[in-house]
Homo-oligomer: 348 residues x 4
């Protein structure tokens, strides 16, 4: 009996096109710390894809690192970052934001998403509090697209949040760890130029979206963080061989590969959702992206575990739980067939 | 028409007995940084009052400072402090705890208080989470006695919280900014020896309890923070003239003055509660200590403001608000008479 | 046989004029956190003494605290503070500056003083280094007046340092823990208006200069630190009863008491220097202020210790050491007579 | 006319054997965050190479990051790290160590190296200072093998430093960014088992030693840092695909490739030294490893720049400068021939 893993979208190496380029370029000689031609080419492609010719683009190694350095750079010492309680910065970064000296001001999310209304209430609450000078000021709003629940912000929602942020002197930062899976999703109407227009900073995820590793941080207006390079160094986030990440983004942003990588995973996820629904599994959260959430009985979870790799999400009641199955750029038809077979055998 | 202020319990200087001692001792010559005889005497009295002969006692200038240094000293880098959302460390210290690198893990309180059950659920949630190594570990539980709502933990409640903390490898820290007003309250059954037995650290508030300024941090088991002196210095919290604070505590803990200071304020608060109730004001939160919370119409708040100093607490609905009136060691009969007169005149 | 202590200038309470005011004002009712009339009056007097009507003035409890908060507020995250290796921030604050995230860039001083030339070389070295984006940028220059060696910057020296700082985009911060002892010294030609004109921030020391405790931080141009109040809170440095410190400065800056307090200590120190010289002791460092440094044989140090309180400074060679004797506003003729008697008896 | 670059040892991709393994393993499915078989295999090989079966081994992305996380994990809040003024942590990490809250206690080095004597004097100075509780305690000693000047600690020197550290309650940490170039150098007598025996932590550099990127941190006694995994996460240093680095170290520690990679660079550097000496260039610092330091006239530097990539090191006098040429695992005979040709043409 086979076993197939949908535990995460960062289980394998990189897209073959990237691997090819890395093999070909292995003995090329590059300047260090991002001052090389490959990074410059990748920056050019990203600026073009974002329709933002003046953007600053920096290459880092991972998502928590990107969040940590960007937020530390965007926040004044007396400011905190507003995030959903389910946000990655709130719960799954071992306190990296607080380690940098900043409070995460947690708001309850709706399936992983903040609303403009809640953000506005948070800002207004601080502004009108007599004791506000004794309190952490909301300085940046953190959202993730897609969210940790696989859900998407619509362009209208993003515009509303961006508007509220700027009305209240806050900046908007978008965590795009899985951005390819938003961009490649038919349900999505937020483009890279939208992000560049509405956010003050965002990152385009590579590690979970076809690259070996790496994330591209984008500041549409570089003046917002004039010394980001040094701040990367200060946080141990400046790669000597930045070109390693630059090269991968250069490939991903040549001929829209990045979006195609995402699209393939969505096609796979859609087929997975059909398979599961056909078997009577209860899909939850309404995620249209590459993360598929299913509710099972505890017994069902145990049986699933024998054949399928998944991530445990949370208990939903005393004898049921929610698990996550993630597709990726690397998911094959054979993987889905194996899932179908496994589901058949273990029953519901 | 008169005006009388109940805005806070730190509006005036110090208890006459303290003032007398400071005047008498003004030209005495003391060693610096707490290595003097007066501090040593005060430490001895506090140890005795706590029935804890081996306790370490340190003198600091203020409450936020005490919380900041103690929590930074008690927490490992990967730990956070559990507190009520209304806790002083959660909301009114401008992010001092996060500035020190630690997350405040906020739990909803009940009239300012945490319950052993909620603390246990928080600890268990971390312990049983597959991702706990990516998460902030609850390391210390912070409570305040009395709480920010003027409410009191009973000895039984405190024992339950202390038990849960130690069962789960956490430490318990009690913020006693207004501890005199607990100790002097008939409704209170938690003594200083109880605190020394149940908490891993606590501070005995002076600034709001009869001293000019100063707080006495107590570690029943000093081994928990072997280098607290240096950590005070590193946080800018080591007073050159520590004896200034030591001298005040030496007076406060001679002949139970500390408790008597609190008792007087409770007597005044009780009379205030009677006055208010007699006038038909709605008392809220059930605080038995020196902070009296009243709900008024917005219009009533405006009228009150002309004659009485208070602290705005929060809006309770669209056209009502809650305000706080605080008595202290310095509240006089005349103050309460003035309040009664003012209430008569402004009506309800 | 008597004993007399010159261990430090913070061994006693406060100048009688201050004590009188504190006794008189003990039951006055004040707003919290520095928003009271007494603080406002003190700020007015300090602004006037500094000939700087727009200065922001904040009251803190101690010198290390003032340095910590001011430097954290003045420095960008990628900047460090330049100081002499003997500077208080370099060596005697238990790493408070580094705890706030900033490097102390240490330059060798000359009897405790930096020179404009060394500061310029430091700035130029960073500016011309190919790797400067991987290095801490010198952002603020820290000096103390008088220095830790009791020496004074002349107006010309201060102007030169200030000029270099501003030429190179740095700010100048002056630690005035013992400023009264500079202002009251005949050898001094740097006035408070000079400090306000040349420095971007400085503090006027109270703890060592006649106050019970407290320091007054002055920002000639408040725009340099727009949220200093909140940053004080965040560092645990905001006193609930700020008026306690404000009241003392209000007295110190009424009728030039501050300078007179310093002057008295200098007169005492000058007489002490005469006594010591007359006995053949070797005075070192050329300090003209209230700190008197003497070199003795190790044996001489032991004999001195029996009769006189001093601070050990450093070993000067294998069998000699330098000790410090400090006068203060509280030093009396009788103290000096006791010193003379002790010196007579113990011999040289 | 050709151009050949010896600017650094991190200009190219990775050793062909590593590239081969990455290509072969690209579609393999791995657990995240280092909990995979490949990391486990690499850890096993490293433990064996270090003759330290109980060592903890962690894989990180870069050297500054490794230094930052390890030192933050090893140091108590009141401790600082002792390093040479030329140490990477002292000067070229943009204040990463101070950002983590710790002072770098800088001692003057001798060609990049600390001596046991200086380390001992530093420890003793703190221990015997009356004010030590107001000072940063030396907690860890940082050295790099080879040093930033390409020089090597002998086993005897390392033993002496290790001994002093442990005598004085300090820990020893060795930065091995270029460790392969020590291990592969005939002049070296310090083995990996020596490091594991003498140091409390060290890292085996990959980025500059044949890997695409990555460093392996080794704690011979894991109990010294029980929560290092979470601390990596908190510093943004935990790679989702840790196996990417693990896989490279698995190859590097199969059949002593790591040492052979270093050996090849030393052979190239030795030939380079011969070429330079033959042309009359003045070699400085006596580096026997892969970094070759030459002194040239400023004019000579300009001429060199047209044909050869180098790193500017420092001005040695008004019209001379020192430059660094680095060989690596990737340096070819052709590169050295090109250098020889260039030197011939530009003259001396």
């Amino acid at each position: 009996m086979g076993y197939v893993s949908f535990t995460s979208d960062y289980q394998q190496g990189c897209h073959p096109a990237i691997l090819r380029r890395m093999v070909e370029g292995n003995m090329e000689c590059h300047a260090g710390y991002g001052a090389d031609d490959v990074c410059e080419s990748a920056r050019g492609r990203i600026r073009e894809a974002c329709a933002c010719p003046s953007a600053a683009v920096h290459f880092l190694a991972g998502g928590t690192q990107a969040n940590m350095v960007v937020l530390d750079a965007l926040l004044a010492p007396w400011e905190g970052v507003v995030a959903a309680t389910s946000g990655h910065v709130s719960v799954h970064e071992a306190g990296a934001i607080e380690h940098g000296g900043h409070k995460v001001i947690e708001l309850s999310g709706e399936l992983g998403k903040l609303t403009a209304k809640k953000v506005e209430a948070c800002a207004a609450s601080w502004e009108t509090d007599d004791n506000r000078d004794h309190m952490v000021q909301p300085g940046v709003v953190y959202i993730s697209q897609p969210s940790e629940y696989g859900t998407l912000y619509s362009r209208m929602e993003l515009e509303a949040i961006s508007h509220v942020c700027h009305e209240h002197g806050m900046r908007l930062y978008v965590d795009g760890a899985r951005l390819a899976y938003a961009l490649g999703c038919p349900a999505n109407d937020v483009t890279l130029p939208d992000l560049a227009r509405l956010a003050d900073a965002f990152y385009i995820g590579g590690t979970k979206c076809g690259a070996l590793l790496g994330e591209a941080v984008v500041f549409p207006n570089p003046a917002i963080c004039p010394r980001f390079f040094t701040q990367m160094k200060q946080h141990g986030a400046l790669l000597a061989k930045s070109w390693l990440v630059g090269m991968q983004f250069d490939v991903l942003f040549e001929g829209e590969l990045y979006e195609r990588v995402g699209r393939a995973a969505i096609v796979a996820a859609d087929r997975m959702r059909e398979l599961l629904a056909a078997q009577g599994y209860r899909l939850v959260f309404g995620s249209p992206t590459n993360q598929v959430f299913v509710e099972l009985s505890d017994d069902g979870v145990s049986r699933l575990a024998e054949r399928v790799g998944y991530s445990f999400w949370e208990k939903s009641d005393t004898d049921h739980a929610i698990v996550r199955l993630a597709t990726s750029w690397a998911t094959t038809e054979a993987d889905l067939d194996a899932l179908a077979a496994a589901l058949d055998e273990i029953g519901h």
